[in-house]
């Protein structure tokens, strides 16, 4: 079996060139075809490094916090993903040992990376074989129920990384502002899979949002997910030309929930899956609230030179159906 290790940090991922995906997922090419990376067998067994104690967080605290994070993803009723704690290991995350291991490692040189997820992938099928998550112990961590000032909430960050471990890429459903001296500060986010974490001391990232639930359900559909939800698909154009990398948000005016995607190919095509039946407002915006390479390969030309705009009709989503042919025209800034 041919194997390759793809190392993907929380702020960095590869992106499939086509087809248009409903949600940003990790992908790889198998025999010239783009294949979504996912676990072929569940439950996904994971180990906890017995060397995971850091100041303020014992191994037991660590195991409990990530257990709660795994449980949240597993509790999504429309997703079939399941996880199983397989025990403690003396190994560390990042070692190719056939075990998916979570633990701390001290990486002070990664001064903006709280955590990252690595994959071992079978490139003949796209199946995930192993996935490790390391949490950077050069930062201060907490598992306190209400959080702790000056410490990052382990459960929140684990929730994000487990999304990666499951095969999800980043969501752009958030707003940021530039910091003086570099970097960005998150003003708000409506997806755990937003690439930039909230600051230390907060536990606001402990809850999955509609966008995360749609993403994991799209990747591992269960029950009546496909029959009970619908999708919107179409293209984004500017001056008659397709736009690559536009961020498309489907907003349900009945519930206020938002699910988002990108136009993901050279034709500007997009597809938003996992939408509740009913009319939706479609908002198109440039990808300007995080670094482009948090979402796409830096070599891809993402167009951010257009104004935020709304599709001119309510788009009605039917259960089990796709409302195709939505052409959203945007104009230059």
């Amino acid at each position: 079996m041919r194997r390759i290790i793809a190392t993907l940090l929380a702020i960095f991922l590869t992106v499939p060139a086509e087809p248009a995906f409903a949600y940003l997922k990790f992908g790889t090419r198998v025999n010239g075809r783009q294949v979504t990376l996912k676990w072929m067998q569940t439950p996904v067994k994971y180990f906890v490094s017995s060397r995971s104690a850091v100041p303020g967080v014992s191994v037991d605290d660590f195991q409990a916090a990530i257990g709660r994070a795994f449980a949240q993803w597993q509790a999504v009723p429309t997703s079939a993903i399941a996880y199983q704690f397989a025990g403690l290991t003396a190994g560390l995350p990042g070692e190719e040992d056939g075990m998916s291991t979570l633990g701390f490692r001290n990486r002070p040189e990664l001064d903006r990376v709280l955590a990252s997820t690595n994959f071992l992938v079978d490139i003949s099928s796209g199946a995930l074989l192993e996935s490790d998550i390391f949490f950077n112990s050069s930062f201060s961590w907490s598992t306190a129920a209400a959080g702790e000032v000056g410490r990052f909430d382990l459960e929140s960050i684990a929730l994000h990384e487990i999304g990666h471990l499951s095969g999800l890429g980043h969501s752009a459903l958030g707003e940021t502002e530039l910091r003086e001296g570099g970097g960005r500060r998150v003003l708000g986010a409506e997806a755990v899979m937003f690439p930039i974490a909230f600051g230390s001391g907060t536990i606001a990232g402990r809850t999955l949002k509609a966008d995360d639930i749609a993403g994991i359900s799209d990747l591992y559909p269960d029950g009546d997910f496909t029959a009970s939800t619908g999708s919107i698909s179409g293209t984004v154009t500017k001056d008659g030309q397709p736009v690559f990398g536009a961020h498309i948000v489907a907003f349900d005016p009945a519930t206020g929930s938002m699910v988002a995607t990108f136009s993901l190919n050279a034709q500007g095509q997009f597809s938003v899956n996992g939408l509740s039946p009913g009319p939706h407002v479609v908002r198109v915006e440039p990808l300007d609230d995080a670094e482009i390479d948090s979402f796409f390969d830096a070599s891809l030309a993402v167009d951010i030179d257009f104004k935020v705009s709304f599709f001119d009709r309510l788009v009605v989503v039917a259960a089990g159906g796709d409302r195709g042919g939505v052409t959203a025209n945007v104009s230059r800034k």
């Binding site: 958030g174 998150v186 938002m258 915006e285 709304f310 009605v316």
Partner: protein
């Protein structure tokens, strides 16, 4: 038995001045206007680091007022009461107004067209009139109906119940009392109602109340 017959005759005699419309079976057709139905507001919120919300944009939705067609068949039940079945069709617009965009978008008004069918029944009661030959016959009434609303493209259906109560007048333009004539009366019906809808297209799950008015022509046989 004699006592009963006597009582009926007395009742009939007393009912004579009441403003019933001649004829037993009525058909009418016309137009109906229904007022706007607010569907509520929702904000597209992001969660902040403190757990509060940051508004990305706001939305307010309404099912707009619309004029449609209405048809009705009524049967005289008593001298003063008609039972009716009715059907109406309209194409109101569902409109969402987007405002307060965080990134200074100009906002938008995004509509869709709804096809609305209402099929139901009710009772009309003719209010007593001192003049038996009055050409204006006031009435009050109420009813309940099945509501079926199809979203644009007819891919999604919302159903519910519609209740109405109100009153109006029938203007008799022609009235014949000779027994051999098939058509007994013809005229114009004008009414105003309050419509209460449950379910159907609703964003907040609450019942909605809207005014309505209708005008139609009728014939009675």
């Amino acid at each position: 038995m004699a006592a009963v017959l006597t009582a009926l005759q007395v009742t009939a005699a007393r009912a004579q001045p009441v403003g019933a419309v001649p004829g037993r079976l009525e058909f009418d057709a016309g137009i109906v206007w229904a007022g706007a139905q607010p569907l509520g507001s929702q904000e597209a919120n992001l969660t902040t680091g403190t757990g509060s919300t940051l508004r990305l944009f706001s939305s307010t939705s309404d099912l707009l007022a619309a004029v449609g067609f209405e048809g009705r068949v009524a049967v005289k039940v008593t001298r003063t009461v008609d039972a009716r079945v009715s059907m109406s069709y309209a194409k109101p617009e569902l409109r969402t107004r987007v405002t307060n965009d965080l990134e200074n978008s100009a906002g938008a008004i995004v509509p869709e067209s709804i096809q609305q069918y209402v099929v139901g029944g009710g009772i009309d009661w003719y209010v007593a009139s001192r003049r038996s030959d009055a050409r204006i016959r006031p009435f009050v009434g109420g009813g309940a109906a099945y509501l079926r609303q199809l979203h644009e493209g007819a891919t999604l259906v919302a159903t519910g119940t519609s209740y109405d109560a109100g009153g109006g007048v029938k203007l008799l333009l022609a009235s014949r009392t000779r027994p051999r004539q098939l058509m007994r009366a013809a005229g114009v019906r004008l009414d105003a109602r309050v419509i209460v809808r449950t379910k159907g297209i609703t964003f907040d799950g609450r019942r909605s109340i809207a005014p309505a008015a209708a005008a139609s022509v009728f014939v009675r046989f």
